[in-house]
Structures are given as C-alpha cells and as structure tokens.
Amino acid sequence: MTESLSADVVVVGAGLAGALIASQLSLAGASVLLLEAGPRIQRWRIVENFRNSPAKDDYMLPYPPSRIAPHPEYHAYAGVPPSATDVMPAGQRNRNSGRSQYQSAPASPGGAHRQPNNYLILKGADADAYAQQYIRAAGGTTWHWAAATWRYLPNDFRLQSTYGVGRDWPIGYQDLEPYYYRAEVELGVSGPNDGTDLGSPRSQPYPMDALPLSYNDRRFAQVLNGREFTVVSEPVARNSRPYDRRPTCCGNNNCMPICPIAAMYNGIIHVDKAERAGARLLTDAVVYRVEVDARERVRAVHYLDANGRSHQVTGKYLVLAANGIETPKLLLISADKRHPGGIANSSDQVGRNMMDHPGTGISFLAREPLWPGRGPMEMTSIINFRDGAFRSQYAAKKLHLNNAQQTRKAALKALSLGLTGRGLDLEIRRRSAHLVNINSFHDLLPDPENRLVASTEHKDALGIPQPEVTYTIGDYTRKSARHTRELYTTIARLFGATEIEFDDEFAPNNHIMGSVIMGSDPGTSVVDGQCRTHDCENLFLATSGVMPAAGTMNCSLTIAALSLRIADVLKESR
C-alpha cells in the first residue's frame, strides 16, 4: 500500500546541510518535508553509551547503526588489549579513522557485540584510506566532529587557473563570503578576532571571540611560532560565551564522540529549529529512488519505512543532502530507462572524483609536560603550508595539535610494560603529561578513477545496494606527505622528543568531497555554481560532494555556506 505525501520542498537527509535548508525555508513560510534514513537519537543516551564504551577512541561505538539504514562500522579502536600484558602499539592513531589496531570488535554499549559491518565496500590501492565514518541519524555526522569551521582560501577556488592543477570552482571566494559569515552566525563560530590573518578575507568579525587556549596549545604555539611554523587559534563552532540558547564550553574534552552540553554545535540544533518553524521530519524513511518526469524535472522520491513499505513523496523542489556517499549512491540507483546511468548523470561524473584529506601523524613524548586533555579536544592549527607556488607540484596541507586527554593511552602503555605500584602511577602521570600527537590534512586532486558505484553484490537489510568506493592516492599528495614528515621531525626536535612514532599510513578524515562535482560545464560536472543539477532544474545537492577542490580544511562550514545559498535560491524561486 502506498501513502502519498507532498511539500513545497522535500529535503533528503537531516544533517547539517539539510537541516539548515529546512530551517531557512520553513522560516520563510514554505512547507518542508525532511526525510531522514536514520532514527532520532538523544544526547544523554549518546553520552551514556560513551561512558559505557570499552573502546573510548572509537567515536562510532556510541552511535548504534539503524537496522534499516546502517552506517559504516569498522570498530577501529577496540582499544582493550587481549590481555593486560599485551603491548599497546605506540603511536596510537588518535585520528577519527577507520583502521584497526586490534582486529576484534568490542562489546557495544548495552552488551551486544558489534562487528565491522562491511557496509561501505572499499577497493583500490588505498582502500583503507577511504574508510569514512558518517552517522545516519537525525542531526547527521556533526554529532561528533572537531567543530573546526574554516573558510576555504581564495586560491582553493581557482587551483587550476592559479597553479595549473585540479579544477576551478565555477564560483569564487567573494561569492561565498557573505554566506560564510551567515553560516558562522547560524552555527555559532568563535574565532580569533585579534587580527590574526587566516588567509580568508572577512567582512565581519567572528560572532564570538576565540576561547582562550589550553596550556598545551599555548606552549605549542610558543615553541613553534617565529620558526618555520605559523600556529593559530582555530575557528570553531563552539561557544566561548552563551550563544543561541546554548552554554559556554566548560572543557569536557569530549567533542568527539559527543559534547554532553551542546556548547559545541551539532546538526540537531537546526533539525530542532526546522521543526519549530513548521518543517515535518520523518525519521526511518530510507529514500531509494528519485523519479524524473518527461520534462526532466524531479516528480517524486520514494522511500521505504522500517517495515519495508514504500511511500511516495512529491514536491516542487528536491534537495538531496545525504552526504557525499549516500547522495551519489541514491542518484545512481535511481537509474531508469531514460537515465540508464542514473539521475543527474548525463556527464557520467556522479560518483567520480572521490576526495578526502588524507592524513598522516606523529606521536612522541615531549621533554616538557604539556598536559593535553584540558579544554576542548582541538584548538590550534599550523596554517603556513595551506597555499603557495608549491601547489603546482605537491599538495597543500594543514597540521593540527591533538588536545585530547591521554590518560587511557598512558595507562594501557604503562600496564603493558608490566609496571605496578607507585611506578605504575608515575608512568601513567608522565605519559599523560608529555604525550604529543599531531595530525594533518593533505589536499588531493580530483581523479575520475576514484569512483563510487552502487554495489552489484552487496545489499543492505532493505535490499538497497551498498556503496562501493575504489580509491588511490596519487603522487601529488604523497610528495606533500614526505614533506610533512620532515616538518614532524623538526617539531619533534624542537620539543626534545623521545619515543617518536610516525604514522605514515594515510588515514581517512571523513571529508567526503567531489562525488557530485560542481562546474560550469554540464559535460564535465554534476551541479552548477548554485548546487543545482545541470540535468534537473528542480534538483539541488547540498553536500560536500559538490566541492571540486579539497583544499586543506574541514569542509563543514563550506557545506553550511553552500546550503544557505541554496536556501536563498529556493526562497527566490517560490
């Protein structure tokens, strides 16, 4: 039996992008239906799941996957050694990555054992480096993030014309600047209002001043600044004063996997705002088909509910905001007789050019005690390798200091050494105070061969094909990573480091870009500069998947800015 629903604007995906658009359009008086494949989840429950999780570094464990809309599960950090005397590998990957230290899966909160679910199928030379994490639930993946809200650099928008590599965006920094500011106001961004130049010209100061740096971050800046490094306070969607009816950050050091007090922005904030403004949210509604009529306009979307029943939804406009993996997958599996390659795919670029920010890292014990773990989990970045003539030869990057608490890692290491008594306590304290961990984001060029397809072999519980990505990291990025290693070595020397551990294997950073690429030429791109698909006039894509250049920065603020721009276009179109 089929039930039919209708709205002015139908939005698929209730994460940061979809919720922002739904909230803007509802406030403007449009009827909005927001379809979310995952469930509603409660903040308190996620916090409790974290506290009961035996693998605290696995940021996905507190988010049980929905039966009907799974998200990738790798259980990378089953951080409990098989026995107390097993050695914990040094140089822990403290990045939000999907790779495994201990191949066994930990018990989930609640007791049921959760195993890797092989939902995102990975192939290619660097398959492991694309083990992306994302959350399918109302609120989306910003439930856990570093809250870094950087603007891209003007040159990130014109990489091809400036440096002869990659692609240009069809829009420039100046087109997005007003939207960047509006996004900062919507999310509540605190940043350095002290004249620090972050390379992206501003028309207005940050809505909030930056939080004062932790002792760890302050020492990091003091030691490195004035040498060959520029360390700055990172702009973040984290309250430095009461803002938008949410409290000031109190330093729970738990931004990932969950801010217990909503001092850090999560997409659920705008889901709530959208609902208060009149938008209707349907959770557990898994969209599996976009239907296009003979005039090449989207006529309807079809979703399955938890019982596997199909429903049809019609609207004047459709916004797909289901992240950089689920969005292209949905377009591809919507193929019909007239669109054998999928919807909005006359260019054959849907699912191609998959990008991310491949990361490498270093861990060491500094000579001086720095005490990471006081304050938010990330506060500073090294930004002087983000742009320059070298970009014609190798990738730009950002490096950032990890300010996550190290007590647990220190304890596991000290226990693995067989220490007892006062010696054990002293070693836990020494390692907790001295451990330094630095990670990086490298730029990556769009390559059509880095490709997502709908699996022909694997289907989820509802019978929907799973996403499959083939991924290889090219020399442009590898050359830069070798330079990054030299920088790490210099930093380690400046801190009088011992027990240096390089983490050279590229890690994923969950910045999924390129998969529905933006461009001015309909023959080589999927959406135009307004995120409208070239093929369907009433279909917009609100996702980092549209981004044609990866740059070096967390892409959430750019997603938010592009989404607000889509909302403006739709407001004018009504």
Binding site: P212, N254, W371, R374, A410
Partner: protein, 166 residues
C-alpha cells in the same frame, strides 16, 4: 492497599532480593572469594580505600571472563600470604620470575582496577569508568572525559605541579 496488592508487593520484594546479588555482586556463597579478592586487590593496587561494591563487580566480571580465574586468584592470594608480601612491586618481581600464570592473574587484576574494563576484545565490558584507578595519578590536572570536574576556563592555567606525582 488490599491483600492482593500487598501480596504482589511482597513478591516483588522477594524477587528484588533474589536478583540483588547478581546486580550488586554480593552472592552469599561468594563471600569468602569476595573478601579474598578485596584484600588481594588492596595489595595489588597499593590502596587501602578501594570501593567494596566495585570490587564485587570486578570479581564477577573477571570470573565471567575466565572460568579458571577464581582458583588462580585464590592461589595468588595464598602465594602472597604464604610469602608475606606486603608490596606489590616485590610480589610482581617474584611471580614474573617464578610463575608466569599467577603473574598474568596479578597483572589482569591490576589492569581491571586501573582501566575499569574487563574482558578481551569483543567481550570487553566497562565495569567502572569514573573511578577507574588510572585517573587518580592525574586527578589534579585532567578530569575523566565527558563531565569536567574543574572550574570553567581551568584549561588556560598551567596544571599545578606539572609533572610531579600529586
């Protein structure tokens, strides 16, 4: 309250009492083992003020994770008592040299108290988070993640004592 409701209440109280040992960990027939484990834990952690309830829960979890745990734990306690060990460091050195099986039990008990986690890989379980002993030697500088116990903006100051043991 009518008789039926009173009767129902009595049934619930009895049922709750029957369940309590499983939840609270105080099985009457396990009392001797509990006392042995508690005393042994005080020796192995170098702490006199361990929590009784946490001790019971850790014991249950350790027994659940390893069927041979109870007998080995008793053997370890016996070894320590027989040889008059009063410091864990000396006991560990002796066992590392003489009895790798008992040494493993010793380290497993210490790891359980320090991390609050018992079990291997897929079967691992959090028994204690806030009061896991690993947080004690750093308590003046960092607070267990999720609910900070320091004052707002505490992080701007240099931690007291920096690297010395509190």
């Amino acid at each position: 309250m009518d008789r039926r409701r009173i009767l129902r209440s009595v049934v619930w109280v009895v049922a709750a009492a029957a369940l309590r040992p499983r939840l609270g960990g105080a099985l009457p027939n396990n009392e001797a083992a509990e006392n042995t484990f508690f005393d042994l834990s005080r020796l192995l952690t170098g702490r006199a003020d361990l929590d009784r309830q946490a001790s019971s829960r850790l014991l249950l979890a350790l027994e659940g994770a390893d069927g041979a745990f109870s007998s080995r734990m008793a053997a370890l306690a016996d070894f320590a008592r027989t040889h008059g060990f009063t410091a864990v460091e000396l006991l560990a050195v002796a066992l590392d040299a003489q009895d790798s099986q008992l040494a493993a039990v010793l380290h497993r008990i210490i790891a359980a108290w320090y991390t609050g986690v018992v079990g291997d890989g897929p079967a691992s379980e959090v028994i204690e988070y806030r009061y896991a002993l690993m947080f004690e030697p750093v308590a003046d500088a960092v607070s267990p993640c999720s609910y900070c116990e320091f004052a707002p903006l505490h992080w701007t100051s240099a931690p007291s004592g920096l690297s010395e043991l509190a």
